[in-house]
């Protein structure tokens, strides 16, 4: 009888426990709007690739939440030679790849050489600086030798392009590395990818070496699913109904509402840098005229755009670069023309651009009309229409041609257009200016075709400066020159808002290269 009772109790217990044992904790679900073409660190410049790669792989150094301070990651320490040409990194001894193989200096050397190898054709190879040699001094020491100093190198080494990957996996998968599989030392490991639907990653069981910017250096979540939800209303509904846990792509119009939804935690990363700007192709008719560019800069109401398009969740830009960036120059900002449509009209009048019969100004038989290309996303149409209306008021006609993201990058690499609208992430002035304004960067990303010897000299001086003060001065001078030339109309600094559900603990927005969760550490699930 006792045996029967025990057996019955055991049976009931088993029945009761069975569902509990079978019921695993649901994965952390992260919503975003667009997928990447691939997840190979050196072959994609997309934010949508970087935000995933940061979790799958590690870099030698990391960046703190202030977007300024370099912190250790795979390298515990580093030294820079007095001439600024040689960086020596001392690596951690406990790092393992997802497949359990220990990481050595040779893996770092392989990854970096792959990044700069012309055969890789990496669109971001220039970010590595003018490399002379990268070698392993021993199993845990990497020597990074440059032909000339690179003042921005450590910041560039925080980006996903400088991720350490597994040579065996790269060679086994070839062009499909980051498409069919991935192996690196990140806190999470590649599980599967269904393009334009979801990417699944699992906890790296070996990982204990997270950067010191986090409280817990080990990942706490077993599985993460990145889901693509391009439609704003669907995303908002999914967050409100707890079908998803985290997003940092909330529709701007919904941010205030989400702040009021019980159980949703909405946080802003105040140091986030991701600017929206309009660039002019300075060698194209009409916009080659500095008067037109300056008048356009004066005619566009950036405050109104930030308020109406971003519903107050965007910061109007009154300088070439974000005020939070390293080497931001306030004097250059003071040279930026203020919003003054009447002044713009007077300027155009004075320079001979007279109103034509249809209201569009004309000079020497040329109409003040130009074509702008951009990407059709949630804000592009609204920003450009608002600009178009502002410009029409001063007699400038701006034709808008927005393209689907699938063809936009190809179109933006052509010379078909006169102006373009884009947004971009950056950390330092050196990075932003060298990326867009060096003559060697034309035709893309220097889509403005800005080829100016003085700019090149200043940017070279900034990027090769061994003295921070000299770098700051060269960057400041370049900002002043470019501001006065009105090569860009800086519009808005986008804000990063991280929305997380009540199941999530430890979420904090980061935002390096647009990656809101960066390494995904400190995150845990309550249930």
């Amino acid at each position: 009888m006792k045996l029967a009772t025990t057996a019955l109790a055991a049976g009931i217990s088993a029945l009761c426990l069975a569902p509990a044992a079978a019921q695993t904790r649901a994965p952390l679900s992260i919503l975003r709007v667009i997928d990447a073409d691939r997840y190979d660190p050196v072959r994609s410049t997309a934010t949508s690739a970087a935000e995933v790669i940061f979790m799958l792989a590690d870099t030698l150094v990391s960046l703190d939440f202030d977007m300024k301070t370099i912190k250790p990651l795979l390298a515990t320490s580093w030294t820079v030679s007095p001439d600024g040409r040689t960086y020596t990194f001392d690596l951690r001894r406990d790092v393992k790849f997802c497949d359990g193989r220990p990481m050595t200096a040779e893996d770092v050397v392989y990854s970096f050489k792959r990044w700069i190898d012309p055969a890789t054709r990496s669109p971001v190879a220039a970010r590595a600086g003018f490399v002379k040699d990268i070698r392993a001094a021993d199993d845990h020491t990497v020597v990074y030798e440059l032909k000339e100093p690179s003042s921005d190198l450590l910041y560039q080494l925080t980006l996903s392009f400088a991720s350490v990957v597994d040579k065996a996996a790269v060679e086994a998968l070839g062009q499909n590395f980051g498409v069919q599989g991935f192996n690196a030392t990140g806190p999470y490991c590649w599980a599967s990818w269904t393009p334009r639907q979801e990417l699944v990653m699992k906890r790296n069981p070996h990982y204990t070496w997270g950067p010191p910017i986090y409280r817990n250096p080990a990942p706490q979540i077993d599985q993460i699913v990145w889901k693509i939800v391009p439609e704003a209303n669907t995303m908002m509904a999914a967050m409100q109904t707890r079908q998803a846990d985290v997003t940092y792509y909330p529709p701007h119009i919904a941010i205030d509402t989400m702040k009021r939804v019980p159980g949703l935690n909405v946080q802003q990363q105040k140091n986030y840098i991701y600017d929206v700007f309009v660039g002019f192709k300075v060698n194209k008719p009409v916009v080659e005229d500095g008067t037109i560019r300056r008048a356009a800069n004066m005619a566009v109401n950036k405050d109104a755009i930030a308020k109406a398009v971003y519903f107050g969740n965007g910061t109007p830009m009154h300088a070439l670069l974000s005020p939070t960036v390293i080497d931001y120059d306030a004097k250059a900002a003071s040279l930026m023309p203020a919003f003054d449509p009447a002044g713009a009209a007077r300027l155009l009048d004075a320079e001979g651009w007279k109103p034509g019969p249809d209201g569009v100004r004309v000079k020497d038989g040329r109409r003040a009309s130009f074509t702008l290309y951009g990407i059709r996303n949630d804000t592009g149409p609204r920003i450009t229409e608002a600009m178009q209306a502002d410009l029409r008021k001063v007699g400038i006609d701006m034709q808008i041609q927005l393209w689907d993201a699938t063809v936009a990058w190809g179109k933006l690499a052509t010379q078909e257009f006169d102006a373009f609208i884009l947004s971009y992430p950056y950390v330092t002035a050196t990075e932003a200016l060298n990326l867009y304004f060096k003559s060697t960067q034309a035709p893309t990303p220097n889509r403005m075709n800005w080829k100016d010897a003085k700019t090149d000299a200043l940017l070279d001086a900034a990027s090769t400066a061994n003295d921070p003060a000299a770098r700051t001065e060269a960057n400041a001078e370049a900002q002043r020159l470019l501001t006065q030339a009105n090569v860009w109309i800086p519009l808005v600094t986008q804000q990063m808002w991280l929305v997380s559900g009540d199941r999530v603990e430890g979420a904090r927005p980061h935002g390096l290269y647009g990656a809101g969760l960066y390494k995904g550490l400190d995150l845990s699930l309550k249930r």
């Binding site: 209303n233 919904a254 949630d378 609204r382 450009t384 229409e385 178009q388 034709q399």
Partner: protein, 296 residues
């Protein structure tokens, strides 16, 4: 010779159609309450589109960013859009663009399709080639074709009109060929041939006029479909570019505010719905009115 020419008009059945049927067609249409209502809506929509520059209360392009997404009644009768533009004005001008796009596509598509259909029916030797070509065109979904076209010529109304015209050609060709084959079997066609009339004259004087009933019905129904397809292409960003008001593009602009300012997406969608419904009902009524058995 002169006697022969004098005989042909009286011998032609189209004369009976042209003189006797037209008034009765309108009467038959008006006798059907749904048809009459649809006709009234179509006339109203066309009139509103034509008179848009005079009756619109505001500037379709001039926005006011301090006054965006106002609800109906809050700013203007139907509120404002995401650029602070008056919704009534945008709808009226949007109607103009949408109808213009639909008319262009239907005229081009039906014109070319009609020619192909008549040619296939009248010249049996060409029928196989022409109709296989139409089959090829039929195999392209209009939206996919529009996507491919915009990749080449760029987004805009031109691409949409071309895509919709091409999608209309094979449908029209099939309808016309079927109707023309029936007419071409009639004795009076044999008579016309025997009298030595030219192919062009037989086609225009006899075949075309006796095929008008199915053509009218097809064109009316197709117009509704074209409006819907055009709006769809604009909705996905292939059609009208900013700041041109177009109903599909306006609905697309408003979808991001669906929870907060639903009128921006709902109003243009509602107008598309009404236009398409009106043309479909009108097409059905027209078919009934042109069918002698049903008219009796």
């Amino acid at each position: 010779m002169s006697e022969t020419i004098a005989l042909t008009p009286e011998a032609a059945p189209h004369a009976d159609f042209a003189v006797a049927r037209r008034p009765s067609l309108l009467r038959a249409l008006l006798r059907d309450p749904l048809g009459a209502a649809a006709l009234a809506v179509v006339l109203l929509v066309v009139l509103a589109a034509l008179l848009a520059p005079w009756i619109a209360p505001g500037d379709p392009y001039g926005g006011d960013l301090a006054n965006t997404l106002k609800a109906p009644g809050e700013a203007g009768l139907l509120g404002t859009d995401g650029q602070g533009r008056d919704m009534i004005t945008r709808l009226l001008f949007g109607l103009r663009t949408t109808l213009g796009m639909g008319i262009s596509a239907v005229v081009i598509g039906c014109g070319l399709g009609g020619l192909a259909g008549f040619a296939a029916a009248y010249y049996p030797a060409a029928s196989g080639v022409v109709m296989r070509l139409m089959d090829v065109l039929l195999s392209f979904p209009a939206i996919l074709f529009g996507l491919a076209l915009t990749a080449i010529v760029g987004p805009g109304l031109r691409a949409v009109v071309i895509a919709l015209s091409v999608a209309t050609v094979p449908l029209m060709a099939r309808v016309v060929r079927g109707a023309a084959l029936v007419v071409l079997r009639q004795d009076y066609i044999e008579g016309a041939r025997a009298l030595g009339m030219s192919d062009a004259r037989i086609l225009t004087r006899y075949v075309l006029l006796n095929c008008l009933s199915p053509i009218f019905v097809f064109v009316t129904l197709r117009f509704g479909q074209v409006i819907l397809l055009g709006a769809t292409l604009s909705f996905i960003g292939l059609g009208a570019q900013p700041p041109t008001p177009e109903l599909g593009a306006m609905a697309a602009d408003g979808r991001n505010f669906l929870f907060f300012a639903p009128h921006v997406a709902v109003l243009p969608s509602l107008v598309i719905f009404v236009i398409v419904l009106a043309f479909n009902v009108l097409g059905d009524s027209l078919r009934d009115a042109l069918d002698p058995r049903l008219r009796r």
